[in-house]
């Protein structure tokens, strides 16, 4: 029998606090790397200027600890908990919320959570959105995703027909991203979830945006679809900030799981050009 490992939720709170601040000020290296590559390939002068402004923004944010974007997002946490972990010193979700609240206060980050109907701002950016997965082992892996409203609004779940197939999926994603145009702050990372069921394909789509940018799916069928969709989106001409160019998306990432014989769930979630996310293992 494997041994139970105690993990203090105080360590979880501290980890979330640091991840949230880090995500707000410092862009993930793989995202910056992908943008630099895009800059080299870009032919539009305006697009190059926009990318230069984005690089300047990344530098100022990092040096002066100014948030990369004023929309510092809701805190979305993907938490993988080893089944041999036992949380002690409190309730883990409270600890996550405490970490988020403290980071958004201490870091001069914008509080964006509100009542959906009255639009009253709660002033503390709570609650965080926590997706928990139980996995083998005795570790806790935390991914903090600072999800802004502009790119999140350009998301959708569509229950496709099985007959729509691969072609229908490719066309739906391409059409959706072209219609979204400048709204989700291109160049974007496009996350796609295929299969499972209604809600799980949406979680897969968001999770897919957090993959290392440009790393193809290990499934060659999906890797091929990713490339085809990316080329079609970048042939739209929308470009960085929507001001024209060859770089509308940096990458398309697909995750897929089996679905019901009667269904073909499809979800699209986009990440903007700062794609703020950081992770740690405890």
């Amino acid at each position: 029998m494997s041994e139970i490992r105690n993990v203090s939720v105080k360590d979880v709170e501290e980890a979330i606090y640091k991840l949230a601040l880090d995500a707000a000020y410092h862009i993930p290296e793989d995202v910056l790397e992908a943008e630099k590559k895009a800059y080299e390939k870009e032919k539009s002068e305006v697009a190059k200027k926009v990318l230069e402004t984005i690089f300047q923004n990344i530098e100022v944010s990092s040096k002066e600890e100014f948030p990369l974007c004023q929309d510092t997002g809701l805190g979305v946490i993907f938490m993988e908990v080893g089944q041999d972990v036992h949380f002690v010193d409190g309730y883990v979700v409270d600890a996550i919320n405490n970490g988020v609240e403290r980071a958004y206060k201490d870091g001069y980050l914008r509080k964006s959570s509100c009542n959906p109907l009255t639009r009253e701002n709660y002033g503390n950016n709570l609650p965080a959105i926590v997706h928990t997965f139980v996995v083998p082992g005795d570790k806790v892996r935390l991914i903090f995703d600072a999800k802004g409203g502009g790119s999140e609004s350009m998301s959708k779940v569509q229950m496709m027909k099985p007959a729509d197939g691969r072609e229908g999926i490719v066309q739906t994603v391409v059409d959706w991203m072209i219609q979204a145009g400048p709204n989700p702050c291109p160049p974007t990372i496009v996350g796609v979830g295929i299969g499972a069921d209604f809600e799980r394909c949406a979680v897969m789509a968001k999770h897919a945006t957090l993959r290392k940018v440009g790393e193809p799916s290990p499934d060659p069928v999906l890797a091929d679809m990713e490339q085809e969709i990316l080329t079609k989106i970048n042939n739209s001409g929308i470009g960085p900030a929507g001001l024209g160019g060859l770089t509308t998306a940096l990458a398309v990432h697909i995750e897929m799981e089996p679905c019901h014989i009667a269904t073909l769930p499809l979800a699209i979630n986009t990440a903007c050009h700062v794609n703020r996310h950081k992770e740690i293992e405890l």
Binding site: Q70, S153, I238
Partner: protein
């Protein structure tokens, strides 16, 4: 494509020389408002009440800044997505508002109002918030403080870099740019 340095308030003469794709470095006073503030302002108009500021000649910046660090006028302050203000913008343009600053597409109704009343929609670079925020020299909340980041602020800006997106001739920079760069891979 031309480059202009303009100071608010803007006049019809300022607006008619601008064409979609031109660069504008804007200085002077701007007012901030997003969804919640616009809902309140349009409701005030419907009830025959006064707006928190006179929109005549003014430019509204669609932004909800992050909090200012001590000693700084404002935090990061890049544009928010503009289409959410589609229902409100034409009403304010009809009252003499001369410009909006935001990012992303706006509706044909807004485009038509820009042409009819001589106004412009200026596009800023979404996500370049630390850089854009640094062009803000002064900021004060003048209405709806309870809305937090969505409160109406009076900003003083210097040389804020903008692109003319909708001009007063019915042109749309996003559409022009997209057509120019389509199928070039």
């Amino acid at each position: 494509m031309a480059e202009y340095r303009l100071t608010t308030p803007l006049s019809d003469e300022d607006i008619i020389k601008l064409k979609a794709g031109d660069t504008v470095y804007l200085s002077g006073v701007l007012y901030t408002a997003r969804d919640a503030a616009h809902m309140r302002m349009v409701k005030a108009l419907e009830e025959g009440k006064e707006l928190p500021f006179d929109v005549k000649g003014q430019v509204i910046y669609y932004v909800g800044p992050s909090p200012a660090r001590p000693g700084k006028p404002i935090g990061s302050a890049g544009p928010t997505t503009s289409y959410r203000m589609n229902p409100f913008a034409p009403k304010l343009i009809a009252l003499g508002q001369k410009g909006m600053i935001g990012k992303g597409k706006m509706s044909d109704e807004v485009k038509e109002a820009c042409a009819k009343y001589k106004a412009c929609y200026f596009a800023s670079i979404g996500g370049a918030a630390a850089v854009v925020g640094s062009s803000v020299k002064k900021a004060e909340i003048i209405a709806y403080p309870e809305l937090g980041p969505e409160a109406v602020r009076r900003l003083e800006v210097e040389n804020m870099p903008l692109f003319v997106c909708f001009d007063s001739y019915g042109n749309d920079l996003y559409e022009i740019a997209k057509k120019e760069w389509a199928n070039k891979l």
